[in-house]
Amino acid sequence: MLIKRASELTYADITPRGLYMGRRNFLLGLLAAGGAAAAWKKLPRLVSAAGTGSVPVKLNGVITGLKGPYTTDEKATSYNDATHYNNFYEFGTDKSDPAANATNFKASPWTVSVEGEVAKPRKFTMDEIMKLAPLEERIYRHRCVEAWSIVVPWIGYSFSALAKLAEPTSQARYVAFESYYDRRQMPWGAGSGIDLPYVEGLRLDEAMHPLTLLCVGMYGETLPNQDGAPVRMVIPWKYGFKSIKSIVKIRFVKKEPPTTWNIANAREYGFYSNVNPTVDHPRWSQAKERRLGEFLKRPTLMFNGYGEQVASLYAGMDLRKNY
């Protein structure tokens, strides 16, 4: 076997070998094939991608330069800020915890089960997900319910591409998502104060909206563990907690599914949780937000600035009641 330079590797090159051969054999294979000094330098990266925690790897063939609502021309938040200041309660409740505690998270091998009200329930391997549709770079605004925001160049494709393969039946009205949860790998989750595994949900039309992204990377690379490796959702017009991370299960259902923050505190976190500057969180105002890297707060936009694309989904609904 030939060792490729990491820059030439795609996710597809890495995952299955570790998966098929087992980590030990994979390592032996690598050692046997090793020779070029350059390959030695890349070894830790390959090893970690194969099992003991994953490090982001460059993604090739991503469609960049999209125009229109799929990408904003606002300045992207620095990689360091976006990856070292976030919430992922399975790895701790401080903003700096996920980056510190998720280092050894094992995001490979990985499968996502698509089930429920679908004609073709099936399990997708991560490799299949990477190839299911062309990967696009989408630069989205991302607004946390805690009134801070970032701009992130995500990589992925519209969730509808995956959903269509499963062929949702006419019974399917909602989509329920579930995160991976493993007390051994995520011992911090137990004290987080929320029920785990993390669950989220969307109405079917929200899920099938072209802005709704099935996300496998950011900043040109695969997702770092702390940002939801290896696959997550990004719904840019909703508060960040709706964009569930490290997904293992996607279930099409008839009724509105339970969602984690709504279970934790229904008065504060509704099922819809659309970004809305006119409906305050009971404990703080949502009128403004602090964009990381900026000093003064900026006004928060209705639907996080995606109103033109998504407002029609909520026509006739009282968004004060359906917060």
């Binding site: 309660y89 409740t93 805690e146 987080s192 929320i194 404990r283 602090r290 890297g293």
Partner: protein, 217 residues
């Protein structure tokens, strides 16, 4: 131990130690190490230290009952003033950095957001205590009245804990720790008061009039 506590360097050492959290913040600021959200970081740090100094101040009275530790009382005023100092920084961060002197919005927050209302109350209660912390004011008010006034710090401690508790989203472990500490410190005072009252009564029934020894402020 009292000899160490009364040495002329002790006060200076404690004073400098109390400044360490501020020094750490300034150091981090100078090195661009205030996280991705510096204003939030400064707000949380100064808030943490306000609460810690309130707890330390409240801990002095019980701790000085330990044999040879009576002289700890020398530091109580300083610790209390540092609680006020970090409270000012915390409040000032909110005014100047977080709200950027938007008085109307701040007043709305104080009325509408109960965690801000209770935090604000706790802070305001510290102001008269800081002002009357001098020997001159103790004289002017008289020891007993001064002591009564300074029991307001009990309310500040409770308000501070509630402020923290209402602020967090779901992980209440840290506010709960502070609640335990404040709870123990206040319970100790209640216990000391009950004991003193009983002694006072039995003393009276035996015909002896002992002076009250309730220095439990």
């Amino acid at each position: 131990m009292n000899r160490i506590l009364t040495s002329k360097w002790a006060k200076l050492a404690v004073f400098l130690a109390c400044l360490a959290p501020l020094a750490n913040l300034l150091w981090r600021a100078a090195h661009g190490d205030l996280t991705a959200n510096p204003i939030e970081f400064i707000t949380h740090r100064t808030g943490d230290w306000t609460l810690r100094f309130v707890v330390l101040t409240l801990a002095i009275t019980p701790l000085r009952k330990i044999p040879h530790a009576g002289q700890l009382i020398r530091f109580r005023r300083m610790l209390g003033l540092f609680a006020f100092f970090y409270g000012c920084l915390h409040f000032g961060t909110w005014i100047g950095l977080d709200k950027f002197f938007d008085w109307a919005e701040m007043w709305k927050d104080v009325q509408k957001r109960r965690f801000i209302t209770v935090g604000f109350t706790g802070f305001v209660l510290l102001i008269p205590l800081a002002i009357t912390s001098t020997a001159g004011w103790i004289r002017r008010l008289g020891g007993r009245r001064w002591q009564w006034l300074h029991r307001a710090i009990y309310l500040t401690a409770i308000a501070g804990v509630i402020h923290y508790y209402w602020l967090v989203k779901s992980d209440v472990r840290k506010p709960r720790q502070y609640a335990c500490l404040v709870g123990v410190l206040l319970a100790w005072r209640l216990g000391a008061w009950l004991v003193a009252r009983r002694q006072h009564r039995s003393g009276r029934s035996a015909g002896r009039q002992e002076p009250a020894t309730a220095d439990t402020a």
